[in-house]
C-alpha cells in the first residue's frame, strides 16, 4: 500500500512538473512563465536609464542621455565606439524584435513555431534571402572591410547585452514562446537589410502579367496595364532635361514572352508599402530655411520598426529614426543636412523559365547545357527532424518554383533574377549620410546603394534641396521582364546596368520643391525603359498640387499635409457614379445611404460615414468589373485603381464591364454602379448591426499589431486616426505612416518627429506604446539635439558605458 502511494505521489509530482514546465499549444509553460523570480513578473518593470556599464572592446567612454520620450542620445569619441554602443542600446530596448525579424528574414520561424511556419520558411529560402545576405557579406569582405568592421562593432555591442542577461531578464516574448536568444552576428545585419529589400523591392507581378496576357491578348493587356497612364506627375519633374545621358537603352531583340500557365506564386510584400517625402527650397519657405519631411508607410507593428536615437561623435551628430538591427540613422538629420526615403519601386525582379536535363544537374542556355549549382537549405523545426530543401541555382538566380515547390513539372522551373541577390554595401550609404555635410557628400553616399531602390530626398542648411532615385537598375530593352522570359536565350539576360550618374534626379528645381510618393519616377522622356508596375497615382498629385497652391509654406503647413485626409481617388469617380447611376430602384434604407454619400466632401475623417460607404461601394464595384480575373486556379492580377476608374468613366460599355456569370444580360459601367451599390448597402447594414455604426473610425478600426500575428494582449486596437491608402495620411487598417518627421534646415536644424509605438520593446513598459495617442492626433515630439556635457531638464537619466578591463 505504502509503495503504491509512493508511486502515485511520484507520478503526480512528475506530472505536475511536466505540465508546468512545457509549452502546451499556445499556452506557455505556466510554472516557468509565472515564477515571480524568473518568469514574466521580472519583465514588469520600467527601463533602467542610469548607472555604469562595462562594455568589452570600447576604446573610450560613451555617455547615453535619455530624454522624457526614452530617446537615447549617444555620445562616443569615435565611430567604432558609437556603433558598438548603438548595438548595445538597441538590444537593450529591442532585443526580441531584432532577433525575430532576422529569423523571419532567414526563413527560421519553424525553429520557434514548429511545422506551421515551414511553408513560410521554405518560401523565404527559395526567394534567396540567406543567399542574398551571404552575397552582401562576401562583397563587404572583399571590397569594404571598414563597413564590415563597423557592423562587427554593432554585433559586439548586441552580444555584450545578450551576455549580460540571465534567463529572468529575457524579453517576455522568449518566455511566452519558451526559447532563448542566440548570439548576434554581422550576417544578421545583412539579413535585416535583405528583409527591408524584400519588403520594398520584393514584389513583382511578371508571372501574373504573363497569365493575364495569355488570357486577354496583347491589345487588351495594353489597355488594362499601360506602361504610362494618361496623366503622370512623376517624381522627377516633367521638364527635366535628359540630354546629358549618353548611354542608350539596350536594343530590342526579337524576344517574345513565354505564355506559360502559372498556378501559384510566392507571397508578396504588402502592396501599400510606400511613403511620402518632400522638401521645399528656402525661397518657398516662410522662414527662408528649406524644410524637409518624410513619412514611410509600413505595417503598423509593435514594437515599431523604428527606434529613435541621437548618434554623436566629436565630428558629427545625427538624429532620427534607426531600424533596429542596422547601423546609423535611416531617416533623419545632422547639423548640416536632412534626408529621408520613399520607395522607388522598379521592376528589379524578373523570371526565367529554366529547362533541365533529365537528372536536373544542368540547364539549357545559349544552345548548350550549363551546370546547376545547389544550395541545401537546412530548416530546423521545433519538435521535429530538420527539413532539407535543395534549391537549384542558375546564373539567373534561384529556381524558386520547381517540382518541389508550387509546380509539378519534372523538367522545368522558374528562376528568379533579383537585384537583392547582387550583394553590395547598403549599410555604407547610411554611415556616410549620417556624416554628410552637403549635397556632394549626399550624392557620394548614395553611390553605394543598390536595393531596395529609394527616392532619397535631401535638404541642407546651405540651401540646397534635391531628390535622387537611387538603386542599381538593369538597363532593360523595351518591355524586358514585364513577362516571363526564356531563360535559355542570352538576349533575355540583363545586359548592363544604368550608369549611376544617369539615375533620375533633380537638384534645386525651378518649382522650388521636390517630392515623391511612390508614383512613376519619370515621364516618357527618360531614355531608359520604365513601365508602370503598380505606381501610386493619388498622393503625389495631392502633394504637388498643395505645393503649387501658394507662394510660401511653414512647418505648420507640413504638419497639415502629413495629416491630410483628402480622398482624391473618390473625388475622381464618385461624382460620376452618383450622376450616372439609376436610383429609381433604391429602397428606403439604400436611399438613406445614397444621401449620406452624396453629402460627403471626400475627407476620410474619423467621424464621417462617407469613407466607409465609398470603400464598400468601390470595393464591390472593382470586384464586379474584374470578375474575369477572379480565378482560384491561376495566379492573376487585376488592373490598378487608376486605370479601373479611367475605364469606368471612358469605356463604360467595354466587354470587361459585363458580368460573366449573367449570361443573358450585358452589363455596362452604369449597371455595375447600381448593382455594387446595393451589395455595399447590404454589407453596410450588417456592419451597422455588428459595430453600432459605420463611421470611418469604427469601420477602419486602425490597429498596431504585435509582431506575433497581432497578439491582442500586446497590440493596440481602435486607434482614432483618419486617412486610408492612396491618401497622404496613408493610414489604413494596419498600415500607414510608421514614422513622421519634419526638419527645418535652420542652423542648427530644428526637427520634430513621431511614430505609432514607443521606444521600449517591453510590453510591460509605459514606453511600449506611449506615442500612439499623439501620433493618431497628428501631434509631433520635438527632436532636440543634446550636447554631451549639457544636462538639461529634459534628461531623465544618464548611463555611462565604459571600456571593460581586460582581465
Amino acid at each position: 500500500m505504502k509503495y503504491a502511494k509512493l508511486l502515485l505521489s511520484f507520478v503526480l509530482t512528475i506530472g505536475v512538473f511536466f505540465v508546468l514546465n512545457t509549452k502546451l499549444g499556445s499556452l506557455p509553460p505556466l510554472g516557468k512563465f509565472l515564477n515571480p523570480s524568473a518568469g514574466i513578473w521580472q519583465n514588469e518593470t520600467d527601463e533602467s536609464v542610469t548607472g555604469t556599464i562595462d562594455i568589452p572592446g570600447l576604446t573610450d567612454k560613451v555617455t547615453v542621455h535619455y530624454n522624457a520620450q526614452m530617446i537615447p542620445h549617444l555620445f562616443a569619441q569615435n565611430e567604432h565606439d558609437l556603433y558598438k554602443a548603438q548595438g548595445y542600446i538597441t538590444a537593450k530596448h529591442r532585443l526580441w524584435q531584432i532577433e525575430f525579424q532576422t529569423h523571419a528574414a532567414a526563413g527560421r520561424l519553424s525553429e520557434i513555431f514548429g511545422e506551421g511556419a515551414l511553408n513560410y520558411d521554405r518560401t523565404e529560402r527559395r526567394r534567396g534571402m540567406g543567399y542574398g545576405a551571404d552575397q552582401a557579406m562576401e562583397y563587404m569582405k572583399q571590397h569594404d572591410t571598414e563597413t564590415l568592421n563597423y557592423i562587427q562593432d554593432y554585433a559586439d555591442g548586441v552580444n555584450t547585452y545578450i551576455n549580460e542577461l540571465n534567463p529572468k531578464d529575457y524579453p517576455v516574448e522568449y518566455k511566452l514562446l519558451n526559447y532563448e536568444p542566440e548570439a548576434w552576428s554581422p550576417k544578421k545585419t545583412a539579413l535585416l537589410l535583405m528583409y527591408m529589400t524584400k519588403m520594398l523591392a520584393g514584389g513583382d507581378d511578371d508571372l501574373e502579367y504573363t497569365n493575364v496576357l495569355r488570357l486577354v491578348g496583347q491589345k487588351n493587356f495594353d489597355l488594362l496595364f499601360p506602361d504610362f497612364f494618361d496623366r503622370t506627375d512623376p517624381v522627377i519633374p516633367k521638364d527635366t532635361d535628359w540630354s546629358f545621358i549618353d548611354v542608350p537603352q539596350t536594343k530590342l531583340p526579337a524576344s517574345k514572352a513565354l505564355l506559360d500557365t502559372i498556378v501559384e506564386t510566392i507571397e508578396k510584400p504588402h502592396p501599400d508599402n510606400g511613403s511620402n517625402n518632400w522638401a521645399i527650397s528656402g525661397a518657398k519657405s516662410a522662414t527662408g530655411n528649406p524644410i524637409l519631411a518624410n513619412d514611410p508607410h509600413l505595417g503598423l507593428n509593435l514594437p515599431c520598426i523604428w527606434f529613435v536615437m541621437q548618434l554623436s561623435t566629436p565630428n558629427h551628430t545625427a538624429f532620427g529614426a534607426t531600424i533596429p538591427g542596422a547601423l546609423g540613422i535611416i531617416s533623419g538629420f545632422n547639423q548640416h543636412i536632412a534626408w529621408g526615403e520613399t520607395n522607388a519601386t522598379r521592376d528589379v525582379i524578373d523570371w526565367y523559365k529554366i529547362e533541365f536535363n533529365s537528372d536536373r544537374t544542368k540547364y539549357k542556355y545559349d544552345g548548350a547545357w550549363k551546370d546547376v549549382s545547389m544550395r541545401v537549405e537546412d530548416i530546423k523545426i521545433k519538435g521535429k527532424p530538420h527539413y532539407k530543401d535543395t534549391v537549384l541555382y542558375t546564373h539567373h538566380g534561384p529556381v524558386v518554383f520547381d517540382k518541389n515547390f508550387k509546380s509539378d513539372n519534372e523538367r522545368s522551373g522558374y528562376a528568379m533574377r533579383w537585384i537583392g541577390h547582387d550583394g553590395g554595401n547598403n549599410q555604407k550609404t547610411f554611415i556616410e549620410l549620417n556624416k554628410a555635410n552637403n549635397y556632394n557628400d549626399y550624392v557620394a553616399a548614395l553611390n553605394f546603394w543598390n536595393a531596395p531602390a529609394q527616392n532619397f530626398v535631401f535638404a541642407s542648411t546651405a540651401g540646397d534641396i534635391a531628390l535622387w532615385i537611387q538603386g542599381k537598375f538593369p538597363n532593360k530593352w523595351e518591355g524586358q521582364g514585364k513577362f516571363l522570359m526564356d531563360g535559355s536565350n542570352p538576349e533575355n539576360d540583363w545586359q548592363s546596368y544604368i550608369p549611376q550618374k544617369f539615375n533620375a534626379h533633380t537638384k534645386n528645381p525651378k518649382r522650388g520643391f521636390v517630392s515623391s510618393a511612390n508614383q512613376h519616377p519619370v515621364d516618357e522622356n527618360y531614355p531608359y525603359y520604365v513601365f508602370n508596375d503598380g505606381y501610386e497615382t493619388y498622393r503625389n498629385r495631392v502633394i504637388n498640387d498643395f505645393f503649387n497652391s501658394k507662394e510660401t509654406f511653414s512647418v505648420a503647413d507640413f504638419k497639415a499635409l502629413h495629416n491630410n485626409n483628402f480622398n482624391l481617388k473618390a473625388s475622381e469617380l464618385l461624382p460620376y457614379m452618383i450622376a450616372h447611376m439609376d436610383t429609381a430602384t433604391l429602397n428606403a434604407s439604400e436611399q438613406l445611404i445614397f444621401n449620406e454619400i452624396k453629402a460627403w466632401a471626400f475627407n476620410n475623417d474619423i467621424n464621417e460615414v462617407g469613407p466607409s460607404i465609398w470603400r464598400q461601394w468601390y470595393g464591390k464595384l472593382y470586384d464586379m468589373v474584374w470578375d474575369e480575373f477572379d480565378d482560384d486556379t491561376l495566379a492573376l492580377i487585376s488592373p490598378y485603381t487608376y486605370q479601373t476608374i479611367h475605364l469606368l468613366k471612358h469605356k463604360g460599355d467595354h466587354k470587361f464591364m459585363d458580368i460573366k456569370a449573367t449570361e443573358d444580360t450585358i452589363e455596362t459601367a452604369k449597371d455595375l454602379f447600381l448593382l455594387s451599390f446595393k451589395k455595399a448597402a447590404k454589407r453596410l447594414a450588417e456592419i451597422k448591426d455588428e459595430k453600432g455604426d459605420y463611421t470611418w473610425l469604427n469601420y477602419k478600426a486602425t490597429y498596431a499589431g504585435h509582431l506575433l500575428q497581432a497578439l491582442p494582449a500586446f497590440s493596440r486596437f481602435n486607434i482614432p486616426i483618419g486617412g486610408d491608402r492612396n491618401i497622404v495620411n496613408a493610414t489604413s487598417e494596419n498600415h500607414g505612416p510608421s514614422w513622421r518627421m519634419i526638419v527645418e534646415l535652420s542652423s542648427p536644424p530644428k526637427a520634430i518627429g513621431i511614430y505609432p509605438g514607443g521606444q521600449s520593446g517591453n510590453p510591460g513598459s509605459q514606453y511600449y506604446d506611449n506615442f500612439i495617442e499623439d501620433w493618431a492626433a497628428g501631434k509631433y515630439h520635438e527632436l532636440n539635439v543634446l550636447q554631451s556635457q549639457e544636462i538639461t531638464a529634459d534628461i531623465i537619466g544618464t548611463q555611462t558605458l565604459i571600456p571593460a578591463s581586460n582581465e
Binding site: L6, F10, T13, P36, W41, Q42, D46
Partner: protein, 116 residues
C-alpha cells in the same frame, strides 16, 4: 515550536534561497525537502507548503507588479483569457506555485513513510 509552523517557515525560507539560483521548480525542491525533514500529517502535508508558496509567489508578484502599475500583468492576464485582471493573475500565480509545492511535499511525505 509547532511542526506546522516550522514546516511553513522552512518551506518558505528554503524556497526563497533556492529561487536565487534554481529555475521555477526550486519551490518543488523546497517543499520536498521540508516534507522529508519536517513531516506533517493528513491535509497539512499538502496545504502547509501550498500556503507557503502561494504566499511567496503571490506576494512577490504583487510587489513587482504594483510598482509598475500592473502594466504587464494586465496584458498577460488578457493573454491567458483572464480578462485584463492583474489580481486574478497574481492569485493564479500563487495557485500554480502552491500546487507544485504541495504535490512535491506529498512525494516527500511518502518517501518518509517508506523509509521509516
Amino acid at each position: 515550536m509547532n511542526k506546522t509552523i516550522l514546516n511553513f517557515i522552512a518551506t518558505l525560507v528554503l524556497a526563497l534561497i533556492l529561487s536565487l539560483f534554481l529555475p521555477w521548480w526550486s519551490v518543488m525542491t523546497a517543499a520536498l525537502a521540508s516534507a522529508l525533514f519536517i513531516p506533517l500529517k493528513k491535509f497539512a502535508v499538502f496545504f502547509v507548503p501550498f500556503l507557503a508558496i502561494f504566499l511567496f509567489w503571490s506576494v512577490y508578484s504583487f510587489a513587482l507588479s504594483s510598482g509598475n502599475d500592473y502594466t504587464l500583468a494586465k496584458r498577460i492576464s488578457q493573454l491567458l483569457y483572464l480578462g485584463s485582471n492583474p489580481y486574478l493573475l497574481i492569485i493564479i500565480t500563487g495557485l500554480v506555485g502552491g500546487l507544485a509545492a504541495g504535490t512535491a511535499a506529498l512525494l516527500g511525505k511518502q518517501i518518509t513513510v517508506v523509509t521509516k
